[in-house]
Structures are given as structure tokens and as C-alpha cells.
Symmetry: none
Subunit: 225 residues, 2 copies
DNA sequence: CAGGGTATTAAGTTTTTATTAACTCTGCAT
DNA sequence: ATGCAGAGTTAATAAAAACTTAATACCCTG
């Protein structure tokens, strides 16, 4: 797994839409690139190799469906996530889109909230990395046994604490925005305050007794021994 | 059981069937790949090494029976599960199929519910590690004689209690989700509430008199002396 | 030193599990 | 048949743990 933020390419000919989606995705920690037509989308997709491509179905130069087909025909984009934005809730287009290999749809007019849940849901699904024992220095995190060890001493973490620690520890050094943490550990649809994260971080630090989570002020947290 | 998703290959020339089965299996957490004829099935089977292959008996290119025979002739597919879909409840075909090495049949028209139970049942059966006497410290669990001993003193457990204890004890330390327990001990198609597990756990603890089952709140249970 | 975070506490809520008792179902013996 | 006995399940309540919030103190950074 890479330690970098997920890259998202958004293609739509309406600047407003681009603006709104870019803003919202950036806020969640995604790296966003935009394109205003099908050709530009293709070109940028090849260049930046995004993890997710958001395509307006109706675009100049090439339609979203065409772009999708072209992308899917290349092995490099086999696993790239693709979401369509459809202006009309055109059932026909939806079916055709799914056949073309899109992973999801969002109907216009777009609700940023809905859009974000969908995007996050896709990545969450993708993210389900199989539970793997992590060993970092004198720290062991074993999801199978649901146990954390420091210097061979067992430490019991509660569910959320464990998930949070695991999330951070899978990618040491990578900074997780508070929003990313909320998405991964709590799920995007749950609404909890920011302080909740602090409290859990604190408990983890306390229980582990070692300083392995670093605060990045105004940004988030990262795992670092 | 394992933390990886089981891979299932479905081969049928009717898109509807593929669609329905794929949908249902995906919902259960299986990873599904489809093929529309015998040749494609063979090719994909070799590529993805599925845990289960679902074969329509009547297919273009190669029939399900042929595919099955070809697969079974390769060592790599010795343990791969194979299910046939038979359009006619053709007794003759069924016999021939079983001889070819299929593990089960589902007759068309297919009920998704029935199909799922069969699939789950197969995997459950596969999972059933052979009955083996477990000795952990002063605790002995003998599935053959269906008896549990603590400090050489016999303790009688009821069937479900025993199965549950055995499940946990086979992999000490490993946390079993409530769902996993339900699948393994009760079977995936039986609908019983979560509290049922609690009650059985309690009885086991009570009868054994030793604290060997640990609760992991919000996650499940694990065996641990 | 002010202001925008973050840490720390303690208290309040919710979720989850333990416990107990009652109820269903089945087989078996009367 | 009738009824008893044990297994299994459900339901209700109690208890515990986990989670969230809110209030306050703290600490950088500009």
C-alpha cells in the first residue's frame, strides 16, 4: 500500500460542479485534479494515474461513457474506481454505464454529502485489506487476536481504539486527516465531533505507554515510533 | 474462517443467472468472477484459482461436466469445490456429474436462498477440521468421545456447547466474530439471535468452571487460558 | 499575548454483554 | 396419548464496558 493520499480526477464541463466536488474531496484528504472535457480527462488520467475517476456522462469532446470504456480497455486502469455523474436519472445510461465498468453513480443535482459518502464507501470497500499482523519495533498489533503487545506484554484496546491504531500503524509516517480517520474508523455517515478522536488517541497513548502517535497540528495524526 | 474472501467462479451462458448469483454471492462477502462458456470458465479458473466453481451443465464451447473433468485432472484443482447447475433434473447427468467429482448440485430454476445455503454449507464442510483431541493445559477436549475434561474430571457439554467450545479452542487466541460463530456452529441459514451465543458461552464457562473464554466487546469471543 | 488548535478530565449516553428465568420443541418413558 | 426431561432459544433485566460530549486547561505559533 502506498502512503500517499488517494488521487481523484474529476471531469465535468460545469466549473461550479468541479469547484464544489474538489473542495469537498480536498477536505477529506483526497488529492484532486480536474478536467473539463473527455479528452482532458483521458490525458490527465494517464498522467497522474488516479485512484478514482469521477466522470460526467455528458461532456464535450468525449462523453463519460466513452472515457470510461477507453480507460477500462487499458490494463493500467483495471482497478481504477470510476463514478459517473448523470444529469438525468436515465435508467438506460445507468445500465450501459455499469456494463462499461463504472463502480457507482451519482445523480445530479449532486448533494456533496451524498457524493462524499459514495466516494468514501468505495474506498472503504477497496481498503478492506486483509487483517495482517503488524510488527513495528517492540510493538505488535494483531487484528486476528485483537491484541496489542509492547515488549511482549499484552495490552487490551477497545474496538475503536484498536481500529484507530491499526489504521495509523498500517501506514507509518502517513498523516491522516481527522476526516480520513472518521471515515475509516467511524464510517462516513456517523456524525461525531472532532474531540472524540482526541479522546481515543489519548487512550491509546495511555494504554500503550509509548509515544507512537504524533500530532500534526491543524492537520491530523500519524503513527511514528 | 480465513480472513480472505473466498473466490467463486460462476459459469453460465444465461446473463440473468450470472447476474443473480453474482449479486447474492457478493452480498455474502464472496469475491465473484463470471464466465459465459466452458472455455472462458477454464481460462479464468486457471487464472484466479477460485475456491469454488459453479458450472452450468449446458454451456457453449464446453459443457460443465467437461470443464469439471478437465479441472479435476489437474492437481491444482484437487480441492476446489465444484457445484453444478442443472436445468433438467436429469438423474443421469447428476450421477455422471458426481462421478466426475462435483461436490453438489443445484437444480434450475434456482432459488437464490437455496443456492446460498448450499454454497455456505460446502464451505462450512470444508472448514470442519477433522476431529482431533485438543489438550490445552489442564483442559482436554475430545470430539471423538464428545467429552471435556478439566483436571481429569469429566464434564458433560451439550451438543451446541461442545461445538462452540471446540470451534474456539481449535484456534486459541483467535477472535471469532459472532457471525463466524453463527456460521460455523449454527449454519449460515439458521436465524438465531445474538443473545443465543451469549447464553451458550455462559453455560460453557459455568460448566467448565475455568475462565478460558474471553469476551472482546463489540467484536466476538476467543479462547484463551 | 491572543487565538486556534489539542490534551485532559470527568460526567453523561449508548451499546454490548451477562444473567436469569421462562418458554418451545423433541424424544422418551410411562 | 400424557407428561417429563433436557437442549435450545428467546426475552427481559441488570451490569459492564465503550463511546461521546462538554468543559477546562494547555500549548504552540504568529
Amino acid at each position: 500500500m502506498d502512503n500517499k493520499a488517494r488521487k481523484v480526477l474529476i471531469a465535468d464541463d460545469e466549473p461550479d460542479i468541479l469547484e464544489i466536488l474538489k473542495y469537498n474531496l480536498s477536505n477529506e484528504g483526497y488529492e484532486v485534479v480536474t478536467a473539463k472535457d473527455g479528452d482532458e480527462a483521458l490525458e490527465k488520467a494517464r498522467r497522474i494515474q488516479p485512484d478514482l475517476v469521477v466522470l460526467d456522462v455528458m461532456m464535450p469532446k468525449k462523453t463519460g461513457v466513452e472515457v470510461c470504456q477507453l480507460l477500462r480497455s487499458q490494463p493500467a486502469f483495471k482497478d481504477t474506481l470510476i463514478i459517473f455523474l448523470t444529469a438525468v436519472s436515465d435508467e438506460g445510461t445507468q445500465i450501459k454505464g455499469l456494463e462499461t465498468g463504472a463502480d457507482d453513480y451519482v445523480a445530479k443535482p449532486i448533494s456533496p454529502k451524498v457524493f462524499l459518502s459514495r466516494v468514501n464507501a468505495l474506498f472503504r470497500r477497496l481498503n478492506k485489506t486483509e487483517a495482517k499482523v503488524l510488527k513495528i519495533d517492540n510493538l505488535t498489533i494483531d487484528p486476528e487476536r485483537f491484541i496489542v503487545q509492547v515488549d511482549d506484554k499484552d495490552i487490551v484496546l477497545a474496538k475503536k481504539e484498536f481500529e484507530l491504531l491499526y489504521l495509523l500503524a498500517v501506514k507509518p509516517g502517513r498523516v491522516f486527516l481527522r476526516n480520513e480517520i472518521l471515515n475509516q474508523v467511524w464510517g462516513n455517515d456517523v456524525i461525531v465531533g472532532d474531540r472524540t478522536i482526541d479522546v481515543h488517541i489519548r487512550k491509546i497513548r495511555q494504554k500503550l505507554g509509548i509515544d507512537c502517535i504524533t500530532t500534526v497540528k491543524g492537520v491530523g495524526y500519524k503513527f511514528e515510533l
